[in-house]
């Protein structure tokens, strides 16, 4: 039975993980995502579904536990916040290399370094440009509400198993800590061993019985084999771009100006759009829901319609590069964002749109471009 609740983003994600029939969660506390492991520990899902919840001795141990569990075809996940995700990157690269399905959650806080515990979107590059070593990408989902924190757990696992590749839920302190209404899906049973063998028996380490052995590794010392593996990964990413791109357009039909923003920034930007429309400015919002794959074509097409684009992010200017690449310099693209854990207000965003795009709307060469940081 589905259920309506008032929950924090982190709690909703944790409850959704239990209900999605996840087999194992391995984590380590860090603000602002600690409610995930806290909720799971208090809820004792081992009694509800048999799901394993384990606090590892470190973030590195946790991601390697995910690697081990995922090798057996089980649904395994971990979560952390920025500095913790940096520690997990080696393991994430191994998961991608070994073609293992897993879900990683990053409730981003300000950085670099230990930074601050408050919200930030400064891990965009880390999430969509690799982060770890080697030629790999993550499928990246960016929730903008508590409801999406819950819904994206199952979506991420579906993608992870469809492609045998790790998927990342890129949230932040704002979405993780806030409470909203959430409709929780009914409990799904965990996969039985028979179902697991049926689904993943051709690659997973399920106990060799009457078949060739399955080997999980990311190591290939034969160059030709390694290149074939890289090509296979690239094929997956191409297919993701074709089949699993997600984005949302708000007030774009008659828009003369466009804001591009994801996650918490998209929520705040939506208010800026409302304020702008009330002032007679025809502004729309494009919200990428997946950050890889990225809505390149949608942006390329919108660039024929709008006079300028503002990329709004809680960082010093990261996604703006992808916006510029997507629109191929058809229109001016500028960045606005706050850092250090400060959250931009809707009023600030609207003012930035007016100053940087509407008033000053010409394509500027990098030599003449001022700093985009407030």
């Amino acid at each position: 039975m589905s259920e309506l609740k008032l929950m924090k983003g982190n709690e909703a994600l944790a409850e959704a993980a239990i209900r999605a029939g996840v087999d194992g969660y391995f984590g380590y506390p860090i603000t602002p995502q600690t409610e995930i492991i806290e909720y799971l520990m208090a809820e004792r899902p081992e009694l509800r579904t048999g799901m394993v919840v384990l606090q590892a001795e470190s973030e590195i141990a946790a991601i390697n536990m995910v690697y081990g569990a995922a090798s057996t075809g089980k649904k395994a996940m971990t979560s952390s916040s920025s500095p913790g995700i940096s520690l997990k990157l080696e393991g994430i690269s191994y998961l991608a290399g070994a073609e293992l399905p897993a879900v990683i959650v990053n409730v981003v806080r300000g950085g670099p370094g230990l930074g601050t515990i408050q919200p930030s979107q400064a891990d965009y590059f880390q999430s969509v440009k690799g982060g770890g070593h080697g030629d790999y990408k993550l499928y990246v989902l960016a929730p903008a509400s508590v409801q999406e924190m819950a819904d994206f757990v199952e979506d991420a696992f579906d993608i992870a198993f469809k492609y045998r590749a790790p998927a990342l839920i890129l949230s932040d302190g704002l979405i993780g800590q806030m409470m909203e209404k959430v409709v929780l899906k009914p409990q799904k049973p965990r996969m039985t061993n028979e179902e697991l063998i049926e689904k993943s028996g051709d690659w997973a380490v399920t106990g060799k019985k009457g078949r060739e052995r399955n080997i999980i590794t990311s190591l290939d010392l034969q160059s030709e084999k390694m290149e074939a593996r890289v090509r296979r990964l690239m094929k997956k990413y191409e297919q993701m771009e074709k089949e699993d791109l997600r984005f949302e357009k708000i007030n774009c039909d008659d828009a003369e100006y466009l804001i591009v923003a994801y996650g918490s920034s998209a929520r705040i930007s939506q208010k800026a759009v409302e304020l702008g429309r009330a002032k007679g400015i025809k502004v729309g919002l494009l919200r990428p829901i997946t950050l890889f794959p990225y809505p390149k074509k949608a942006l390329f097409d919108l660039a024929d319609q709008v006079k300028g684009i503002l990329s709004v992010e809680l960082n010093a200017g990261q996604m703006v590069e992808d916006v510029r690449l997507s629109v191929e310099f058809k229109v001016p693209v500028e960045h606005f964002g706050r850092t250090g854990g400060i959250i931009h207000t809707p009023e600030e965003i609207l003012e930035a749109l007016e100053q940087k795009i509407i008033k000053n709307g010409s394509i500027r060469h990098h030599k003449t471009r001022e700093s985009s940081i407030l």
Partner: protein
């Protein structure tokens, strides 16, 4: 209808839980709600605030600079949030511990002596419900019966026997909120 509220005060005054009860009350009357707490170093230093939005429509930003109503429960919060109230909006505060009273003349200002009534009731924990009562008198955005339903949802079942006490506190708040008039100082030579 959309009501945007900031509640701000010391940690321990029940700021976050008051916001939570308000959010639950909104859910009880089928509204969209959001509850965005401060969880940063400021909170660890003793002050806490929460932004609550109740709306009949999908809520865009859960984080706001300008709100309809500010409920202010200590001086630091007064310094920070008096300017956050939109013109014509409402500021409600407990004068206990306030040294610099609000001075805006373009908003409606109310006082509620929550601290005093809570201590008269002999229960400091009930303070936030007195404030909530005062707020609901000025801005009846949620019905009392929905607040009671909201209380049932937000506090664990073993404390449900305390609901009548909470209702009593809300009533005291409703009966004792008073308008505050900003006196414009007259300078004489």
């Amino acid at each position: 209808m959309t009501e945007e509220i900031i509640i701000a005060g010391f940690g321990g005054q029940g700021v976050l839980s008051m916001g939570k009860i308000l959010a639950y009350s909104g859910i009880m009357q089928n509204q969209e709600v959001s509850w965005m707490p401060s969880y940063g170093p400021e909170m660890r230093g003793g002050t806490a605030n929460v932004t609550v939005i109740l709306s009949d429509e999908r809520i865009s930003s859960p984080y706001l600079k300008i709100v309809d109503t500010a409920i202010i429960l200590n001086q630091q919060s007064m310094d920070k949030f008096e300017e956050s109230v939109k013109p014509g909006g409402v500021l409600i505060y407990d004068p206990n511990g306030i040294t610099a009273h609000p001075s805006r003349t373009d908003i409606k200002i109310y006082q509620i002596e929550g601290t005093r009534f809570a201590s008269e009731m002999g229960n400091k924990k009930i303070f936030n419900m007195i404030i909530l009562g005062g707020y609901l008198k000025v801005k009846p955005v949620v019905k009392l019966e929905n607040v009671i339903e909201g209380l049932k949802k937000s506090i664990s079942e073993r404390y449900h026997n305390l609901i009548p006490l909470n209702v009593e506190a809300i009533t005291i708040g409703m009966n004792n909120i008073v308008p505050y008039k900003v006196e414009i100082p007259v300078f004489q030579n």
